[in-house]
């Protein structure tokens, strides 16, 4: 297109000359994008955890704390006798303690070393996971078995939480997106108002509507692009911090940011630019129907 460089420059000039409104638009759009991104990252992490939990054919059976380790060995034999159980491996409370200590740090655990609160357990592997519920019921009936860490229950809970978070996020993000479009529409409308004199002259000398419109569309898209860049930076800063905080409470391996950040960035740019475009487009559409003095309000 002829004169595109000039139009792009005008668009950038608009963003700068109207910077207070531009910053307001960027802020709203950033909160919209960061929330969307956070929700998406949360749900793919949950999905991964759910997958790994579902895949691992391992069920932890906890033994009552008043049972000695010798008695526990017999309980193990009983568990192995249950049909559909392939193996039951003893997992002592000392081993468990050591593993927690490695994962979560020495400090806390050194203090309680001599009074280990963890129970002894068996790691049970089943032949056929479709018989899971019945097998678990049978194991529960064995004397000395305290509880069973039902991974499926956990997986289901996680999925439920993830779904709930997604529904809330869709609502919030939808509302924020509408707000973003309106704020950007207002921003470009304010720019248009401040440049109405130029617009009226452009129209009087025969500038086409698409030409008049272009700097304002660029303004909207630049705001969208800046928002996308800021949001990507925000996600980079937040992700590691939030994830290490969560994993210190619930140990699990989260998806490294490097694997997904490119997709996040691309999605942000597309969403930001599209929202910016539409925001500007709806506000200038009305304006371009006016002529001459109407534009100036004289």
């Amino acid at each position: 297109m002829k004169g595109f460089g000039y139009l792009a420059k005008e668009g950038l000039k608009n963003v700068w000359s109207n910077r207070i409104m531009s910053i307001a638009s960027v802020c709203v759009l950033v909160s919209c994008l960061v929330l969307t991104g956070a929700a998406a990252l949360f749900s793919i992490n949950v999905a991964q955890v759910v997958d790994s939990v579902g895949d691992s054919n391992e069920t932890t059976v906890y033994i009552k704390s008043d049972v000695s380790q010798l008695e526990a060995v017999y309980i193990g034999k009983d568990i192995e006798k249950v049909s559909n159980v392939a193996s039951a491996t003893f997992y002592s409370k000392d081993e468990a303690f050591q593993q927690y200590k490695e994962e979560l740090g020495d400090e806390l655990f050194n203090k309680i070393e001599d009074r280990n609160p963890l129970p002894d357990a068996f790691i049970v592997v089943m032949d056929d996971l479709s018989l899971y519920d019945e097998t678990v019921a049978k194991i529960k009936n064995i004397d000395g078995v305290d509880s069973i860490n039902d991974h499926r229950e956990l997986a289901k809970k996680l999925t439920d939480i993830s779904n709930l978070v997604n529904i809330i996020c869709i609502g919030v993000v939808g509302a924020l997106m509408i707000i973003s479009i309106f704020i950007i529409a207002n921003t470009t409308r304010a720019t248009m108002y401040s440049r109405r004199f130029e617009i009226s002259i452009m129209k009087s000398v025969g500038a086409t509507n698409s030409f008049v419109r272009m700097p304002f569309l660029i303004e909207g898209m630049v705001i969208g692009f800046i928002s996308a860049a800021v949001s990507t930076g925000g996600i980079v800063l937040l992700y590691e911090a939030v994830m290490s905080a969560i994993t210190s409470m619930i140990p699990f391996t989260y998806i490294p940011l490097a694997n997904v950040i490119l997709y996040v960035a691309v999605a942000f740019v597309i969403a930001g630019v599209v929202i910016g475009f539409f925001g500007s487009f709806i506000s200038i559409r009305k304006y371009l129907k006016k002529e001459g003095n109407e534009i100036l309000g004289w």
């Binding site: 297109m1 002829k2 004169g3 130029e198 002259i201 009087s204 000398v205 086409t208």
Partner: protein, 254 residues
């Protein structure tokens, strides 16, 4: 070049701005459109610029019926004409060069063309030395010449000047019309809307008189109305409170 065929314009609020106006302006003509305020001059201009469309009748510009012009074709219609406004409409923060260049950028001309054309046109209106000045640093007459340069820069076939001398010193007014005359001599059709009869008298050009929405005089086309002697113009501006004329009445001043 410009044809009005039985053009009437009634605004949505009921104001009758033009009644059954028919006139013909040839390519290369210089025409004064005179009339007091409220006579329908500004509607006449808006119709030519296609800012408004007639309620009835047809306007033909460059052989093109404007009723057939689609919305997206309007900008291209306007590129045939350069508009000079009474209030100059210069952009304060831009210097003289950029103000004129703005009209070229608005129609997508390249920087290389702009750099060649703008100084040429500014030279034409005698402002080559003031290219870097801001409009506020210029006199009214100079500002109007910048406005004229901007109207000329895209090389239009028609120049439409709306009260070009309205905000200019009387001495400068003569100069502005002289400049328009020179432009006309180069083949551009020039329409000057004014209420300054003194000025009109100085230049022996065609005069179309509009009053209360009608063409009541045309020094070229006698059938369009009654031609006035110069004396008849005296006190013309006081006619504003005259009664509305019935549709077919032949109107004579007292």
């Amino acid at each position: 070049m410009i044809d009005f065929e039985n053009v009437s314009k009634t605004y949505p609020n009921g104001t009758h701005a033009l009644y059954d106006v028919s006139l013909h302006i040839d390519k290369g003509e210089f025409v004064f459109i005179v009339g007091s305020s409220g006579a329908g001059k500004s509607t006449f201009l808006k119709l030519i610029m296609h800012e408004e469309t007639p309620t009835s009748g047809e306007i033909v510009i460059n052989g093109k019926k404007t009723s057939k012009v689609k919305r997206r074709e309007v900008p291209y219609l306007r590129r045939h004409m350069g508009i000079v406004f009474q209030d100059f409409r210069l952009i304060e923060k831009m210097n003289v060069f950029d103000n004129v260049a703005f009209a070229m950028r608005a129609v997508g001309k390249s920087t290389a063309v702009i750099k060649k054309r703008v100084p040429y046109v500014l030279d034409l209106v005698g402002l080559k030395d003031k290219m870097q000045d801001k409009p506020s640093e210029l006199s009214g007459g100079e500002q109007q010449r910048v406005s004229l340069a901007r109207a000329l820069v895209n090389n239009p076939e028609i120049i439409v000047a709306d009260e070009p001398t309205g905000n200019v010193d009387p001495e400068m007014s003569h100069e502005i019309i002289e400049l328009l005359n020179e432009i006309n001599a180069k083949g551009t059709t020039v329409l000057v809307v004014t209420h300054e009869h003194e000025l009109v008298r100085e230049f022996n050009q065609r005069v179309i008189t509009i009053d209360h929405g009608r063409v009541i005089g045309d020094t070229k086309d006698k059938s369009a109305g009654i031609r006035y002697s110069d004396d008849d113009y005296a006190g013309y501006d006081e006619y504003d409170d005259a009664p509305q004329y019935p549709d077919n009445a032949v109107v004579l001043p007292d």
